[in-house]
Symmetry: D2
Subunit: 135 residues, 4 copies
């Protein structure tokens, strides 16, 4: 299970070093994660609004290999590294589209959380296949 | 009625032109607005949580005069340009602390909004003096 | 001369009011402006790198009409309201793609600036047609 | 060697979950890092401008323990976990000021980089003591 998303580096995302500021890679991973869900048939917004379940980030890591620059198109390949009914762990590989150069690799770990009570939740059965889990 | 707040330009806020990215000035105005409220005795977070009233931005303008740079301390002077029980209009003057040079001038207009219904609200009586209004 | 661009509202761009934070609309206008230039045949990055000319923002305004929400697709129509060899003034209309509802209208004014000297510059002749100017 | 810095959570930094968006913690670590340098006698801006040396981030990690909320004051304790003349590794502990609750722990690894050539650099001798290194 993998999905590919694209972002184009915004001027707002650059810093005075002339490259994309490092915290933005976490935002790109979020964009990619939402698109991973969409491509798996899960509308993240609906899950949050209808089921009251959110994917709370409990850990995020990024290793920066080569800087992204303004106007670069970055392709993010997102995979589920592991998952169970309580949590999910995503991996990301970010490459520059023009030359396929790897820019960064990241990982995020998430707990399913009940939005109203902010307590851990179990992933509803119908969403399990989307994370590669048996219902 | 005026308050003075300070922000120090973050590396994250610079862009590849080597100056603070222009959209961040709106964020600084928000920081200054919250501190204006605090100095007037109004805890903005409490107003939102307790009264369910938010100050929704309906218009924002900024005129950029001289660029702010990384690590500059910027002083923001905030005043209420006008207000009534339905809306408030803030003005901001942003100056660099080291030489008092004016960097930008901004304005924001806000509606009081009921957070639950997202419909226009009247400012609760007890908050009126904080915006220079008669109760 | 008009161009249309799209952004999808990121989770990172929402705030605790449950809508897109107002300063992000200025970032979307920047995205739209860069795409306006691209569609007119002007690669903004090249202009900055090759000619050392930047479009410095001297004023930005946004009027917020209806809130954008997470995952909304926003279409931004960008036009040159006026231009001369020293400056350009863009207008933006932002609409939600699903129902064509107008979310916001904005304007930005820019000076052409020599990046090295940070002094006002004249737009190079070959770029003039891209802003609707006679060479 | 440790320094303590404070940030107050901005409205802009919240998301629709009602908490500080996770990527902002990396920005706070940057603010804390710059203040660590300042308290050690190193003006980060000067190092970049005068020596042409930047601290390029090669890895960033954050573990989120308890969410920060709008208007919370967050204290960040920054320490150098290890350093040599080529790189430095910072650790951060973020606590909420009102009740000293730990919100997050983070780490960043950096290479000293020559800004002009974007090649690895050695830390200039006079800066070594600031990172706990023998000159």
């Amino acid at each position: 299970m993998a999905s590919r998303s694209r972002v184009r580096v915004r001027y707002a995302e650059t810093d005075q070093m002339g490259v994309a500021y490092h915290a933005n890679y976490l935002v790109w991973m979020e964009v990619a994660r939402v698109e991973f869900c969409r491509s798996a048939g899960l509308n993240y917004r609906d899950m949050e609004e209808t089921d009251g379940i959110v994917l709370a980030v409990i850990e995020a890591t990024c290793r920066y290999i080569h800087p992204a620059r303004f106007d670069d198109e970055v392709e993010i390949e997102t995979t589920v590294a592991s998952a169970n009914s309580r949590m999910v762990h995503f991996s990301y590989e970010m490459r520059r589209l023009t030359d396929n150069r790897t820019l960064a690799r990241g990982e995020t770990r998430h707990l399913f959380l009940n939005l109203a009570t902010t307590t851990p939740a179990r992933l509803p059965e119908r969403y399990k296949p989307m994370f590669g889990l048996l219902p």
